[in-house]
């Protein structure tokens, strides 16, 4: 299970402000905190209204690298910003590029970058027609992109499919569609990974943390093995530990028991 810290994200108001103000202390503390809570990777997203991502993303990437030795997920909708950030990336473990999709223009811009840098990559299961309603449409986008990435010599294990989770408040079938997509991805691409941004699922509802946590255990059961989340959320982390023993991914329950003794499990 790969745990990625989501909190360094310019669309979060306080973080966005810190990026615009070049408030390094705030950002460094946020990086350190996520590292201490055990994130395997850290997501770095510098997208903020009024900023310039092509400068901000590499700047932020360097700040993180000065602070901790954690590999990074470089996150932007702007191909130029991604390119700029990858050029300053220096960890020995490959970065995860977040993201490509079936959107042609974006793909055409990122394809040479992927070819040159050979990084891991998140694949959003959407294309120029938007986010598909059905599982079948999502799977056909997965098929197209898997073929393209393999042709670029990106191995299956470096591909992270994102089934795209929508809000159940607006799309009642959003949870079921995502879970079924996860199941199908795991059986069609057993060497690849499935990643999911959890918090969308509860948008517009009260009690969001409970809903997110409940979906998390369902998604882990369906085969999700990479998680983008707030690593400081102890209840969420506790659910991951418990889920792992229940699907036999924690031999002798050692991780769970150690975390329990260290009082990191919320019961």
């Amino acid at each position: 299970m790969l745990i990625i810290g989501e909190s360094l994200n310019g669309t979060i108001e306080t973080v966005g402000r810190a990026i615009l103000d070049r408030n390094e202390t705030y950002l460094r503390n946020l990086v350190k905190a996520q590292h201490e809570f055990g994130a395997d990777y850290l997501d770095v997203n510098a997208g903020v209204a009024g900023g310039n991502e092509v400068e901000d993303l590499p700047w932020l990437t360097q700040i993180v690298q000065e602070e901790v030795l954690t590999p990074l997920m470089i996150d932007s909708a702007n191909p130029e910003a991604l390119k700029a950030a990858l050029s300053v990336y220096r960890h020995s473990e490959s970065p995860i590029l977040n993201s490509v999709s079936g959107e042609e223009e974006k793909w055409n811009k990122l394809c040479p970058v992927l070819e040159e840098k050979g990084c891991k990559v998140v694949v959003l299961l959407m294309d120029d027609r938007g986010i598909p309603k059905t599982v079948d449409q999502r799977m056909s986008i997965a098929q197209i992109l898997f073929t393209r990435l393999t042709k670029l010599n990106i191995p299956p294990e470096d591909i992270y499919f994102d089934p795209l989770l929508l809000s159940v408040a607006v799309e009642p079938a959003a949870g079921v569609v995502a879970l079924e997509t996860i199941r199908r991805l795991r059986s069609s691409y057993p060497d690849s990974h499935v990643i999911c941004g959890l918090s969308n699922v509860s948008m517009g509802l009260p009690g969001r943390k409970l809903i997110n946590r409940t979906f998390l255990t369902m998604a882990i059961c369906a085969g999700m093995d990479a998680l983008l989340l707030d690593v400081r959320d102890q209840a969420l982390l506790s659910s991951i530990y418990a889920s792992k023993i229940l699907i036999n991914q924690d031999p002798y329950c050692l991780d769970f028991l150690n975390a329990y003794r260290e009082k990191r499990i919320l019961v």
């Binding site: 669309t11 903020v48 209204a49 900023g51 991502e53 932007s76 909708a77 223009e105 408040a169």
Partner: protein, 218 residues
């Protein structure tokens, strides 16, 4: 007198069939379609919108009511469109070019319809040319632009400039919204209004049109 409380109760419970019957009943009792719309539906949906904004009820409950309202509107629309008075104001909405996110935009559309506006949904990935063309064809009073990405929010400026260049700035008011935006950005690109969420979109549209939704029928 129309049974406002009854309609409000039916809408909040999402009773599609009963709302249709209630609407036909009100018309059979001699109420005009305009009265049923304004004193019945708009006021009821406005109450629902206020409860949503105050956090008392949630999106699924608004959608449930909106769906029931549609059943009533299907009865009213053919009659309203025959009458000579303009029965509603039009709002054209769309997600800007390069952006394919439509959940927020759809929600705004449903809330606006609930508020009694006629909504023309231009869809996703809408270019400046398409916005301009839609304004010329449909002649809405308000145009709403949505963007969810920091990369696509810049497109809003392009679209607003195109609207101005086409000489339509005086004919139509513009509002913008989407997760990465804020009031300052909206003002900076010259939009007439900024909507932080779906409920405030309805209020802003109403205030731009200087309409008082809360008062008695206009």
């Amino acid at each position: 007198m129309i049974g406002r409380e009854k309609l409000y109760a039916l809408l909040t419970q999402g009773k599609v069939e009963e709302v249709r019957e209630w609407t036909c009943g009100a018309l059979n009792n001699g109420e005009s379609a305009e009265t049923v719309l304004k004193e019945g539906f708009i006021q009821a949906m406005d109450r629902i919108g206020l409860r949503f904004k105050s956090g008392e009820i949630y999106i699924p409950e608004v959608l449930l009511a909106a769906r029931a309202m549609h059943a009533g509107m299907e009865v009213l629309k053919p009659i309203l469109s025959r009458s000579t008075t303009k029965w509603s104001k039009k709002v054209a909405i769309g997600t800007v070019k390069g952006d394919l996110h439509d959940i927020g935009k759809n929600l705004v559309g449903m809330m606006l319809e609930g508020g009694g506006f006629e909504v023309i949904d231009l869809g996703i990935d809408v270019s400046a040319e398409k916005f301009v063309e839609a304004i010329e064809v449909h002649q809405p009073q308000i145009v709403g632009l949505s963007a969810l990405l920091t990369t696509t929010m810049r497109e809003m400026k392009t679209i607003l400039e195109a609207i101005e260049k086409a000489g339509l700035k005086k004919k139509v008011k513009t509002i913008v919204g989407g997760a990465p935006l804020n009031e300052q950005f909206a003002r900076g690109i010259g939009a007439d209004g900024y909507a932080a969420d779906a409920a405030s979109a309805v209020e802003i549209v109403a205030s731009l049109l200087e309409m008082n939704l809360r008062g008695p029928s206009c």
